[in-house]
Symmetry: C2
Subunit: 225 residues, 2 copies
């Protein structure tokens, strides 16, 4: 059994003060409806847990109705930080789930290929994440804006979601982060705390996250294609 956790509890402050980025209409539907649909239709996923902001449950239920989603889903309220939201999602997963796939609600271009590849890699390796090579030339900067280090780009990967894990591994990794009071920026970083390595799974098609208003036209283009 595979549970997908769609993290849809953030508001995205960079979109503006009164904008809920997940409900921005792109290619005719809210961003999060596109995301949800990809998992609703995915043969690799058995159930969906949506982590939403408290008070938003009705809006999400309406989305499911309007879009005719049929896969079993459950909703749970988000926590203070992303890490807390993911934790709440994991608690709500079916106890018999073997694989947990964590995905950003704001990444609507996720494909069945990358979902299936990440689920398979998690089964084989324990932990995996969608990633793409980095085309930009990346430097490390000092606090006062000078280049401090030139980094060999061929070794760099930009990681996205899905991030997929055997259930006991992500429970143990995030539990360890909580116990030690460590804030992790993403769930693969938590794996470090328990000595679990993470496989990078090549994401062949663009899988951007809606973050700033300037991302919207490109998402529109990708979702209409």
């Amino acid at each position: 059994m595979v549970t997908a956790i769609i993290v849809a509890a953030g508001k995205g402050t960079r979109m503006g003060p009164n904008v809920d980025k997940l409900f921005l209409e792109v290619a005719g539907r809210p961003i999060v409806a596109h995301t949800w649909e990809r998992f609703d239709r995915s043969p690799s996923v058995d159930e969906i847990v949506l982590v939403v902001r408290e008070g938003m449950q009705a809006e999400f239920e309406e989305l499911a109705g309007v879009n005719g989603f049929t896969k079993q889903y459950r909703m749970v309220a988000g926590g203070k930080e992303r890490q807390d939201s993911v934790w709440n999602g994991i608690q709500a997963a079916n106890p018999s789930a073997e694989i947990i796939a964590i995905h950003d609600g704001a990444r609507p271009c996720v494909t069945e290929t990358i979902i299936a590849d990440c689920v398979r890699a998690a089964r084989e390796h324990g932990a995996a994440v969608a990633a793409s090579s980095v085309t930009d030339t990346i430097k490390e900067a000092t606090a006062d804006g000078l280049i401090s280090r030139h980094i060999d780009r061929s070794k760099l990967r930009a990681v996205q979601t899905p991030q997929t894990f055997r259930a006991e591994i992500i429970r143990s990794a995030l539990g360890e982060a909580q116990a030690r009071g460590i804030a992790v920026t993403d769930d693969t970083a938590a794996c470090d705390l328990i000595g679990q390595t993470v496989r990078l799974v090549e994401s062949a098609t663009p899988n951007p996250k809606a973050t700033a208003p300037s991302d919207i036209p490109w998402l529109e283009l990708l979702l209409k294609a």
Copy 2:
């Protein structure tokens, strides 16, 4: 005096075997015509050196005519590697140029703001480069595709072009790279060889490089805006 060197000698193999990416039509004109126009119109730039593939001179002259470019320009043939092309361009710059601005022909969205900011930073600091913060989560990978290091994103910058230098600094830096037989991936890396630090100049608007076919729709969108 400020000389802009537009590096337009690459063919861009990732676009396909018989495609010259610089001459792909985007928003009604070849990509490199957009790039050239931005420098042709820039009050920050006094002359332009185009580094082109041998045999392409006539195509570029036609571009200048069709688009009505008025600023003084010169053409020079590219070398084997980008570094050689840049070197050829620098040799062709007016000897009285104080500032050299090196720019990728395949970055057509460059703005007067970022050109002016980079030129100013080079005057003040000696070497500068357009850069943007990195929104992706970046990891270092092992050769067999596992995450080997989690990198603090807040310290990372993606560098672009223009890369701007006081003329004597870039001559000395690239000369040192040549003398020591070192291939540098970008011109700021050569500055390291002579102990010259490089200022990162925030690029406020998207300034992507045309690399793969999937970049084209986004460039179209940006250039039509």
